[in-house]
Symmetry: D2
Subunit: 487 residues, 4 copies
């Protein structure tokens, strides 16, 4: 088929059963409701790009199954180049929207991770998960689906395993295995891109042991599956989405809490059912590519922050070039998270099912930077932007246009003869949105916490081997082992 | 008189003419209106502390004029100890409110700066400004006034001086000098604490030359002076202030844009009228103490962030002690801005009027840290707090209490057996408010930009003298001067 | 032929004319003289590795010309994998020796850069440089040559171009073009690995204009070419190389100043002769791969620093695991410079002659990290190592073995029952050597300064394009160009 | 008496019994021997300054006992101003010498600390230590003594307490108590300034319990006391001290290992003898002032690094002003450690004996910066200085003056017309010495490790109190205590 258009995409969303709530209200149409239309608009720009010759190379690819042209985010990632294209797509999307577009990201990664994992599982257990998965992927490619992905469970008490929780729903789990499918219940938290998605790829939130095997499940459900209630999280300044005017941009992302209550998932959509020993593999494969790629997300947003700082400098009456040193610092931050991710991809290798898997050590090192450098980039953006941008310190759109004193506000905001008060106001609001508004992506804990990444770095750093190198160079002849643990 | 109480203070605000606007609406009573009542509450806690034996030493002092006990923020700062008390009061106020309390800060600094400056001016010009100032201070002490301070003008085109601006109102200026006073017009921008203040201390926004002498003015006006229109700036998530519930705390600060239109200021309230050559001195004295003291503000907020991180760790089901290393990093940041400020005070000296003036080099060095370290403290607070705190990523208060699905939201938020879902939600909202909500103080540009501070550090670093020390240690015998500038 | 052995290599050096000086003395045999034998030993370990099955994959390759197995450092870099192998070899060499091995690095890069550049030059000018180069490479592969590379000239007055210098020898230049070759004179400074090399690849130190065309030269000379005087630079603690004992390890690197006085270079060794317009290309291609690869050098040394810190912790009587957090910080630094370099390679592409050229933006971003992160790694190594390691604060080997009081020194150095005083001393000396001794590589300015790298980052950051993204997201409709420069 | 002169001081050192060794040799005269004359020269500059009107205020004071003018470093520190003067003296000394001058520092601090501690001890135990101490101080003031101080013991196995060590000499201890004094044995390590000192103030290396009471001792001994053998530690590039020329400056510091073998200390020099419970107090008081003051040391060296960078920039042919931004970074680092120390002093208070004791929290916070910021300052110094300075990458003084090729070396080093090759070489050697040579002070572990300081910061940060502030602002009503430890 031809690639889907923005209109096709929006139509597909309109056709779904409403089950998303915010502020106590059921959202009848996510494509027009103020709380969700911005994230739909953001995702829609990915469809626009697929049809734009300038971006088509990164936004489309060819199905390895059918040879037909498909949306990049429905494709398989068989090579380093495929994962780099994922990275590039993410950087573009952030440049187009200033924000995360989870529906073009997590499900995509999920299908590739599960391709590797089902290969292992099928081989060892004689299951036929990969065949099911292939069928689903073919459909997704055909329909150009936007697929969110959900790993993080509500979790409950961090000191207990899923099966020990007083409330079994703290983690999503298989409640019943039927002949034709499974019944699932439980809660997933902070899942991004759901409102803008057609389907949701469900994956386990951790590496589970046998006693938690009910929690070892992988499947895909339509967003409007019966039994699923979705409640949107609130974000900084999200009430502005209900107002008129430029106090918030026309793009954005939302996160949601997902409440599954006896949802039935037919077998053809189930790719893991209690095979707990592969749940750790899912996490390992998932984070490797995910943490390699997110460097591109924050880099893309960093690009927009450089641009915003330049706009503000000019709107404030100065040349952007005045701040070249600071912009180089921002660029170094951006290229670092982007480049480290690419490095992880380059040192990756094909996984058991043939899908490319980035190098874990570099990917997790990158996560440490992703949780740190964007904070510095934001700080510099505020530094260049001036007080007006730092905390968005100026009156609202409503006051800007007040019939009685709006002219005063505008007079106060105009800095110099060249640019309008509105241009300066819009640039300042963008800086606010990016650095302490709804545009702030969860780069600290999104895709897992930096402390978890550091544990991986620690595990993959062969301290004893390094001590051997040092011992040889130092000419030390006796063994120097770690002291025995005291009992 | 006795010290003022919270009730006295609120009554004094209620008695004023309404002239504060937000979202297109005139605020009839700042003490009860959702947009301003939180900043009033915050300031009121300063009055509470004055009556609390635990804090009275820092929140009260004795008038050097009358010997009577007064609120600390109405006192003179004649010694290092007085300025240290200013610092301590700021740190307490942030601990009580999590936020800035500009009405207990800028006017206070202004009166002391002007004491030094009027001493110089009166001595050299035979004016009697200090006498006027003393009378006003006596009244302020008697009435326990809360006094905001306004330096930053709207400015207009940064490449032109005030008198060159196409719009003379870009900067506040003297429009007419009458026998009994002056008439002023123009705009001040981003002035904090105005809504919660009784009066506003107006000071020039820069060091002016003769051609800009109309802009060299210092005076105090009641907040509700005729001709003054005040428009509140909006802050991140400020719409939540109009909602019910815990999505925003009960304290806070606001900033305002001030539009003066032919305001009359009687002579007894005017402390500088066109004596432009002292305008630079005002900036110099003002920034020295101000930038020494603001280290305490961000330290106090940092204390609250340590506390918030501890609450969140526990509400997440972990011990705060798990994160001791990270909390030490936060504490080092806090104590650094606090301690550098104290260092600046200790190396200070009495100014020309006898008021203590902190050391400029250390004070401006501190400003560099104030514009940097709190960003790291916030990052660590989010790091410890987890995804729920990083961007406040969970449903709103309204959804938390929704009759249909609120129980699900609460179930998802409860982490472990010990603490309620609400406790975790409130702690997470506080983290959000402090790190990317309305609780973020403008520490980057508040009180001037770090780039300006670096210029002072540069000017006060005697590179040639340091080169001499190096030359002697290196045993270099020839002179090594800077190359002549090419023409 | 078979791969060369350590013995072959040493024999080849012994056969050369002595022309290296240090401390006023001519070094008759670089392989045994205390000032140079350590760098020869270091390079020799590269030959050992070529014969060790564990490392052979990285240390050998197949000649693209002859299909024969050759040393990796004589090969062509036609693909990303080839440049990654360069990176890996560097990291191994640092792990084996703790230090730089310039003779296995710069000449190698030079031959590949010149392959690209001669392709351009030959095509546009009908020259036959590439043919000459190929012949030389074939010989180098056959003989397993160690080839230093020299770019940095003595330079003289930084404010003048080469041809304007009062002393023409400030930069290496062509003094005469003869039918059978060229005569060159001038000075190259801070060239590493020369003492351990067979030949030296000479390249221009900058991008030259027509008036400087005499300085646009590329050629290779034997290290002992007639007319070349080599004076070794001194390094921190290099006098220890002349002492007995463990105060300095058995490996190391040296840098040299090269004084060319009418050296004749026959045409078959000349690959650029006054084609000044390609001199800039040489710099561009050279730095791209070089700055991508040096991340591996400092990573390898960082690995040794992790190992040294672990040894010291244990020799001090503690578990290395106590410092796991700090070692993770070190590892993050190491993997960052390594991974960014790999990222630059992965985004590279084939140059005009088919040799792989890393991405400039990422490579130069990496240089910024290479000039920063190793300093932090060193600091942490000293932090973990304790006072004894920080500045090598304990008596010398001579005192350690003094017949009268050596037993006291040993008694003082022994920390705990498990390890000998000598082990602790050796580990501490290694830490000293790595962090403030002769083992410190010039990672700040080696291969060019970070300020130069930042200029490239600046040039390759499309601020205006980024401003366009921001403008669209902000919904700004007017153009926001940079202000015109004032005249 | 009159203040002592440099000549008096040197004479006093010459009069002492030789007991200092280095490189297996007994140093007959520390004032002329190459290994020690530089540290004597450095300390001597403190005497010069006492006679220079420009510095006399900081280098002299008035004895609180006799009213006579004395050297500042023999005085009592009764007030904040006195401790600030200590700080200023340190910064000056570093500016004069580029290095540490331990003989004007640790003993001075020791006498003041012991004044406080003996006050406590005498009061509670009826001892008369303070009287003894006073007599000794009077003599030290009269004689203008230079007094090193020794706290750090050799320690042995870190996992055992002093009394548990297999070798009792691992820590200095009282071997015998006689009627007229005590006999001490054991080892002190890494003690700075000993070679240049007249006496050594001995203090315990930790807080001891009853079983370690033999190790709880405080006393002063002449440097040449019978039974004491001193072995100098080696430092980076210290062999250059035995060479002619400018490869090392004429100033410097040394550290020593002290071996006490049955040394008799008469009662009048003993200020603590087994009163173990005060050993912790000594550490507490000592570190508070010491860690407040060392900020001035590294600041002073940082000043010299700014100067060195300026010299190098100019000798390289550039204006120092080109690097103003980087110099501001250096200055911020310097003023931070200096200013934080001053802040600690300002928040200090009189100790039990009346001596001023700086605030522990700020002092230990400062130690964290002292262990970090100077590394950055050094990095920037190398950054500005260029490759020649980074690792001192140029030939030795001997080669610089070689009759055959010295002219070439000089030609290569001369950068531009203005300054001589020697000036550039000397400036580069100074940069090398400061950043990776013998001029590097042990700011990481000197005066204790940053990890120890962080423990103090942790202990003095009231996390629970901060959590209370947060709880109130968040409106949390339930208690949120730390979870109980699992058993």
């Amino acid at each position: 088929m031809a690639l889907k258009t923005r209109e096709d995409y929006i139509k597909s969303l309109k056709a779904m059963r409403p089950n998303v709530y915010k502020f106590g209200e059921l959202i009848e149409d996510v494509t027009t409701h103020p709380a969700t239309r911005r994230t739909v608009e953001s995702h829609a720009r990915g469809f626009d790009a697929a049809h734009d010759p300038k971006y088509a190379e990164d936004f489309t690819t060819v199905s390895t199954f059918t040879g037909q042209k498909i949306h990049r985010w429905n494709g398989m990632m068989e090579s380093m180049e495929d994962v780099i294209a994922n990275s590039k797509l993410k950087r573009w999307m952030y440049r187009f929207t200033g924000s995360c577009n989870g529906g073009l990201c997590v499900g995509w990664n999920g299908q590739n991770v599960m391709w590797n994992v089902t290969a292992m599982c099928d081989k060892e257990n004689g299951t036929n998960y990969q065949e099911r998965l292939k069928k689903w992927i073919l459909g997704a490619q055909e329909k150009g689906l936007v697929v969110a992905g959900a790993l993080t469970d509500a979790k409950g008490d961090r000191s207990m395993r899923p099966s020990q929780q007083p409330d079994p729903d703290s983690n999503l789990h298989i409640k019943e295995v039927r002949e034709d499918g499974i019944v699932i219940s439980g809660m997933k938290a902070m899942i991004c891109g759901v409102a803008a998605s057609n389907e949701i790829f469900l994956l386990p939130g951790g590496a589970y042991r046998e006693e938690d095997k009910d929690y070892a499940l992988a499947c895909v459900v339509p967003k409007d599956v019966e039994g699923l209630t979705i409640v949107e999280a609130r974000r900084a300044s999200d009430s502005r989405e209900f107002e008129e005017g430029f106090d918030i941009p026309e793009t954005g992302i939302t996160q949601a809490f997902l409440f599954f209550n006896d949802c039935f998932v037919p077998n053809e959509r189930v790719f893991m059912c209690k095979e707990f020993k592969y749940s750790g593999k899912i996490i390992e494969f998932f984070t490797a590519n995910y943490r390699a790629c997110i460097g591109a997300c924050v880099a893309g947003q960093g690009d927009v922050m450089i641009g915003t700082a330049a706009l503000l400098a000019r709107a404030n009456g100065l040349a952007a070039g005045t701040f070249a040193n600071k912009m180089v610092e921002m660029a170094v931050n951006n290229e670092t998270t982007y480049g480290m991710g690419i490095g992880a991809m380059a040192l990756g290798k094909k996984g058991p099912g043939g899908m490319w898997t980035s190098d874990s050590l570099l990917a997790h090192t990158n996560k440490v930077h992703v949780a740190t450098l964007p904070y510095e980039t934001k700080r510099i953006c505020q530094d260049i932007g001036g007080g007006i941008a730092e905390t968005g310190c100026f009156p609202s759109y409503k006051d800007f246009n007040d019939p009685n004193y709006g002219h005063l506000v505008q007079k106060a905001l105009k800095a110099g003869v060249k640019f309008s008060a509105e241009t300066r106001a819009r640039a300042a609001r963008l800086a606010e949105w990016l650095t302490l508004g709804a545009g702030v992506p969860g780069c600290m804990h999104g895709g897992g916490s930096p402390d978890g990444a550091k544990l991986v770095v620690r595990a993959l750093t062969p301290v004893d081997q390094f001590a051997e190198y040092a011992r040889k160079i130092a000419g030390i002849t006796e063994d120097v082992p770690e002291p025995e643990k005291k009992k």
